[in-house]
């Protein structure tokens, strides 16, 4: 067992699970989506993406791409949140919440792909 692989897989899967936790619930209901959970999702996704840096293989390149997509989507979601709550006084309306949650949904799709790639790599190693 390789500790590096454990940590790497841990962060990739944690990124997906946290993302799922934030995403689940009624899409436009602020009660169902916690801002701290989004914060955690962003931090874990950033770490997972940085961990994918510097691998020159084709698989590594695709993993990095999924990470970058997820981070881009999540940061857009957080910017929408900050603008809605702090910059313009719209507050957390259902429309804003729906935008944030759908953005995080996209990020989750990227995370799903990333985990699938991780599993493919594991299966390939087995043979």
């Amino acid at each position: 067992m390789n500790l590096e692989k454990v940590v790497f897989s841990f962060f990739l899967i944690l990124a997906l699970t946290l993302n799922f936790g934030f995403f689940i619930g009624e899409v436009d209901n602020p009660e169902h989506h916690n801002v701290y959970e989004l914060y955690a999702v962003i931090v874990v996704n950033l770490i997972a993406t940085v961990m994918k840096f510097g691998d020159r293989s084709q698989l590594g390149a695709m993993l990095l791409a999924t990470g970058l997509v997820a981070v881009a989507q999540l940061i857009s979601a957080s910017i929408v949140w900050a603008v809605a709550v702090h910059v313009q006084d719209t507050g957390m309306t259902p429309a804003v919440m729906a935008t944030i949650v759908s953005l995080s949904g996209g990020a989750m799709l990227a995370n799903v792909i990333s985990v699938i790639l991780l599993m493919i790599e594991a299966v390939m190693l087995r043979h």
């Binding site: 914060y39 950033l46 691998d55 020159r56 702090h86």
Partner: protein, 582 residues
């Protein structure tokens, strides 16, 4: 992914992860610790504000306690955060700086920059492997003619020289082993603009490997190799290397030219030397008794030249008994002598007959011995004709100081040959044909050359009659006009003045004619080798390329070029003709 970016990303992984972790902990702390707002209510910082706050404290900008003055518990946390975040930043920046100074990283950066430079060469270029003296001469000659060059060299010191040296064109260069196919690929061997590969490293084995690799990776490329050993030369030629330059053989040819007549040697020297260097003096070869010190590769070549010549007898001096036996076996029926010895002592030289010798060859593979031989011989017989073999490039000045009549400098000879092969392939043919001519012919050529060249070595160029290189001439020929060589050597700027140049060789298909006459007609596809100055070449380009210049030299009439002027001209000429009574 690019190697450089990948290296940066891989090395920055740890610092980035640390930064993200430290930031997230600091932000989390600020969110959780309660503060008091301006109305005295308990207040929690939002994520957005916490991120803002940590961003400016971590980078030591410090905009103050925003939006409300902080509670002491928050301040305590901010103090901790400031220290950990600032230290992490310092660590990350330190990591970047170490990476930039790292030698492997720098190597990767230079290599990727080199690859990019080669890839963006969108014009014909030559690949030079080995940047010794030969390589240096060749690169200078190529860039003078505005050809591009790419250089691979093992020794960084030699490259520093060209990186500082002001060449006419930018020359991408890399430190590396040219026998490695990967290096050759990086240097653009597969590039369709790569026109030639020149292998001039010091080792024959490396040159052979370069030639094989080049011919395999890019079969149409012209490959020229330097080789000093016969078996390598044959191997190189066996798979289609275009030219193999063997300095010993080439020198032997030069020596035979010098033996034939002083003019013959002058022709070689003037035409193959670097342009704008000073002209050499004629060399008066002496017949009679010759002493040959050193019977190695060099000595054997010269011996073959000397022994077959009327009026020359040779005494060979060499310390090797094995060579003496070999000599006696092969030369049993000749009257030439062989003496065991080194030749730098008076006794051996006297025994060989230095007192009344006409010539001496100092041809061992040791420079100190050669120099000593020359000094000793000159002390006994100051008039002896000296042929010296220089081995180490560093001894250049020492050999020049001996005032030897003919010095064999392998690198210079190789450079001359390669320059001719690449810049003026016809010059190689010219010299080959010239070698068969007699001394009288050589005298005529030298007198014609000295009339046009002046003080410095001439510029050699080839005029090709094709629609790309000389559009005006091909157009005139296609219109059915008769163009003669005399037209091309006419000055297009002023009538009745001849350009100061000598046409050396006219080639049509496989027909070669030496020193063509002015009445030689010109057809499409002809190639003519000229010798003159660079200014003359530029003047001739006008005749070759611009229709009105060609018309002028053919008719001596200035013709109008613009449309309106041409109409007027035609109109007035008609009037003129009509006014003439029948």
């Amino acid at each position: 992914m690019n190697l450089v970016t990948s290296l940066i990303l891989r090395r920055m992984r740890t610092p980035f992860i640390l930064l993200i972790t430290v930031y997230s902990i600091a932000i989390l702390g600020l969110i959780l610790i309660p503060g008091v707002d301006d109305k005295g209510n308990v207040w929690h910082m939002s994520i957005f504000h916490a991120f803002y706050f940590i961003s400016f404290t971590a980078t030591t900008i410090g905009l103050g306690e925003i939006p409300y003055p902080l509670a002491d518990a928050q301040r305590l946390w901010v103090v901790i955060s400031v220290y950990i975040t600032v230290i992490t930043w310092l660590y990350a920046i330190g990591k970047i700086l170490t990476l930039v100074q790292d030698s492997t990283f720098r190597e990767a950066v230079t290599r990727s920059r080199f690859r990019k430079n080669v890839r963006t060469l969108h014009q014909p270029f030559y690949l030079i492997c080995g940047m010794g003296e030969t390589g240096h001469e060749v690169v200078t000659a190529l860039t003078e003619e505005h050809y591009r060059a790419v250089v691979i060299e093992k020794d960084p010191d030699n490259l520093n020289e060209i990186r500082l040296n002001e060449l006419r064109e930018f020359v991408p260069s890399i430190i590396g082993d040219a026998s490695d196919p990967v290096e050759l690929e990086d240097a653009g061997i597969r590039n369709r603009h790569c026109k030639g590969v020149i292998a001039t490293t010091a080792s024959d084995a490396t040159n052979l490997k370069i030639a094989i690799t080049s011919k395999l990776l890019h079969p149409t490329v012209k490959v020229v190799c330097r080789s000093e050993l016969k078996e390598y030369e044959e191997n190189m030629l066996s798979f289609g290397t275009d030219h193999v330059v063997n300095p010993f053989e080439t020198f032997s040819d030069i020596f035979s030219m010098a033996m034939k007549s002083p003019s013959m040697h002058l022709i070689y020297d003037w035409l193959t030397g670097a342009p704008n260097t000073s002209l050499s003096e004629p060399l008066y070869f002496r017949y009679g008794h010759w002493i040959l010190c050193g019977y190695g590769r060099f000595g054997k070549q010269l011996y073959q030249q000397l022994k077959n010549h009327e009026g020359i007898d040779v005494t060979v001096i060499d310390p090797s008994e094995k060579l003496r036996d070999e000599f006696i076996d092969s030369e049993a029926d000749s009257h030439q002598k062989f003496i065991i010895g080194t030749g730098f002592d008076e006794k051996t030289l006297k025994q060989a007959g230095i007192d009344e010798a006409a010539g001496l060859v100092a041809g061992s593979d040791n420079d100190s011995n050669n120099l000593s031989i020359i000094m000793t011989a000159r002390a006994i017989n100051p008039d002896v004709f000296v042929v010296a073999r220089q081995n180490e490039f560093n001894n250049y000045d020492l050999y020049s100081a001996t005032m030897a009549n003919l010095i064999m400098r392998p690198r210079e000879i190789t450079a001359r040959k390669i320059r001719a092969v690449f810049l003026n392939p016809l010059l190689v043919d010219f010299l080959k044909l010239a070698a068969d001519e007699d001394a009288e012919w050589a005298n005529i050529v030298v007198s014609r050359l000295s009339a046009v060249v002046g003080e410095l070595k001439p510029h050699i160029w080839t005029a090709e009659i094709t629609s790309e290189t000389s559009p005006a001439v091909t157009k005139a020929i296609n219109l059915g006009r008769h163009v003669y060589l005399g037209h091309l050597t006419q000055d297009p700027a002023s009538r009745h003045v001849k350009l100061k140049c000598v046409p050396l060789l006219h080639v049509r298909g496989h027909e070669f004619s030496l020193l063509p006459e002015e009445s030689q007609d010109i057809r499409n596809g002809d190639r003519i080798l000229f010798c003159g100055t660079r200014e003359v070449k530029n003047s001739m380009d006008w005749t070759l390329k611009v229709m009105s210049s060609l018309n002028y030299v053919m008719t001596f009439r200035t013709e109008p070029e613009s449309f309106v002027w041409r109409l007027l001209h035609r109109y007035f000429r008609k009037v003129e003709r009509r006014s003439v009574p029948r």
